[in-house]
Homo-oligomer: 443 residues x 2
Amino acid sequence: MNIVLLSGGSGARLWPISNEARSKQFLRLLKDENDNPMSMIQRVYKQIRETGYSDNIIISTCASQTESITMQLDDKVDLVVEPERRNTFPAIALTCAYLHYEKRVDKSQVVVILPVDPWAGIHYFHKLKDIEQALLNSKHNICLMGVHPTYPSEKYGYMIPNTNDLHLPIKRIQCFKEKPNQDQATKLILQGALWNCGVFAFRLGYIIEISNNYISASCYEDVLSQYNNLPKNSFDYEVIENESSICAVEYTGEWKDLGTWNTFTEQMSDFCTGNVVMDDTNVNTHAINELNLPLIVMGAKDMIIAATYNGILVSDKHQSSYMKPLVESVQGRPMYEECMWGDYRVLDYVEHVDGTKCLTKRLYVQKGKSISCHLHHHHSDVWTIISGLGEFTLDGQCKKVSVGDVLQIQANAKHTIRAINDLEIIEVQIGHLLTEDDVVYFD
Amino acid sequence: MNIVLLSGGSGARLWPISNEARSKQFLRLLKDENDNPMSMIQRVYKQIRETGYSDNIIISTCASQTESITMQLDDKVDLVVEPERRNTFPAIALTCAYLHYEKRVDKSQVVVILPVDPWAGIHYFHKLKDIEQALLNSKHNICLMGVHPTYPSEKYGYMIPNTNDLHLPIKRIQCFKEKPNQDQATKLILQGALWNCGVFAFRLGYIIEISNNYISASCYEDVLSQYNNLPKNSFDYEVIENESSICAVEYTGEWKDLGTWNTFTEQMSDFCTGNVVMDDTNVNTHAINELNLPLIVMGAKDMIIAATYNGILVSDKHQSSYMKPLVESVQGRPMYEECMWGDYRVLDYVEHVDGTKCLTKRLYVQKGKSISCHLHHHHSDVWTIISGLGEFTLDGQCKKVSVGDVLQIQANAKHTIRAINDLEIIEVQIGHLLTEDDVVYFD
């Protein structure tokens, strides 16, 4: 069996802790058995490995997430990186091409696609074996995992099995219903419908053939280079809606989609994280504060309060699932980012009437790591070292730097810094164009 | 008539927009008739002047507020500054000494004490004349303004008139009741009780005599130098509780104490201030955002959300009146302050394991103004000029500075800067002791 974890997501639904650069699966807000913080992707990857599958485990992702994945999963993870964002069908097609052409997996073998962020017990992962068997033992083209509904949710998609198959372990699926209202959901559950939890399996050759309707490929590079010919469409619309031979295997254990604040907060081990003071008049309210400011919460009921360098959310938990358009209206540059060398946070941004802009950041460079040698065409930097020791190189001249040193870097000057021990720097950028892509890297 | 405005307050009840350095009366969250922002003190001062009183108007205040008062009231305001904070009785006694010894006001003249932050119509200020007349025409020692209650509030003090005086314009007061419960308040209102709104009048000689029980003074300086002999007590406890000859004049127009979020938000002209996005599921919710981050509010009911450099408050409006102990638990250094030369805000603060601390601020120096010449013993500064032009002097050496210039100021180096036009500076302080009082000023 080949397991593919889909790691995507624009991060709007768990704003402001998630954003383009830090999707929800990377937030270390869950806990492992030793009470250490862990992220969704760390939890799911660990659970898959605990099932003992020794097969291929591939993570299908986009370029902006590769750093976070490599940092969080210390194994040598097998990544397939989309050359551009084009939705789930192209991403899955590319990963299948990788399995077939690079990993030499036979077209008859089964591929199981999993989201990277389900909250489930270990039994969920053991169930993947049943899905593989269901496909191998049947003539169906697709097998889905159906979760036994625990309440008439309006948020999920439902799959309706053939009436004759209700008591069979492998059920043929006759149709789907996306996000019904509560009445419809209640009726669907009485008819034996199951929640669609985004797990689907197929034989490798099945997707290779569908891809070949759009591109002509005889190796992995062919698929990569023709990636923009693949339809920008979800796997559900492109494949499942056009397929009549679909079956499902039922999973009855613990399962949750941690994609919204409502469900996510249920898994948080504490009501508050960070500098938060709550009085005893709050009810079912969670507060996350990543800012360097105190947060006081009083008399709040069923609310989520999250304050980060990206922004502040104060919302009724249920209402927060509708926040995507609001978040899109305020989305600016990332204010916090984890990088290969450490992280940065934006402290301040000012624009002046003459067009000069000024951005102030605090940078953290991990001991032994370097910020790659680079230059900016359109702004100068002032770095003040506020802790640690480093080796700073400016236009080829190298020197040791320590607390209190001030480094002035003009536009077009090549510069790099290596942390001899953990370094912290206040960076002041000044210029007329301060964008993250005004960077030219050198080896 | 002599009018004394009491400007005090520690600022806990409107946290986080108010703090020690910025009391609520200075917040420009109200609007004048032209829709320009104005503060409570500006509104009240303007209203008093509109009544046409040509008499003495004195503001009794403490040292930390003198800058804000001078900046906000562009007249040559008459200030009496307490040498230390000792509650309202000493503050009023000092102001009376100032009126008598410095302004040569006769002991028979009437002094009216007003809080600096009532929300009232102009009729409230005209009523002061009636209070003066009531005292001059009667033998009472104190005359209070009583506000006609509009509901059985549990937050106010009530004054209960003699039964025989209920329909007289000047009522003798038989007793007081502080913050009754709702049932008691309802009964008190039926008995003709009035709210105590903190306005009281007396003949100047009356307070001079009470002061003389504690100090021996023949000039204003005598009172100043013996200020710490005056009892640290409120005017209510020291004077009113011990006085049997008290009358009141009733005011029936608009009046509110803007001291809590609940009442304050009722006077705000908009539901949001700053970078705030609210959807249409919020009910009676106000949001103030002074941070450089977006704030999204959804599904909140009867809440106040305020985000400033001091901290973030998310509270049910009613519940927020109980926040004082919570605020005291998080109170740190001021994060934003208006100064004679401009203002500053704290962007970041880091403490390292070796005891080194780093504070990053953005300073704004108004055109023509200077930061006084000073030095710090325990920390160095790095200033990066991010906008404007200035004249910088370091240990007697003067130079012009402009955008992009970096100024390194070692501990014990005397420095000053003058803004040729509006200047903005990013300041990075590094040292083992970073307190606001590590400053030595020079002329």
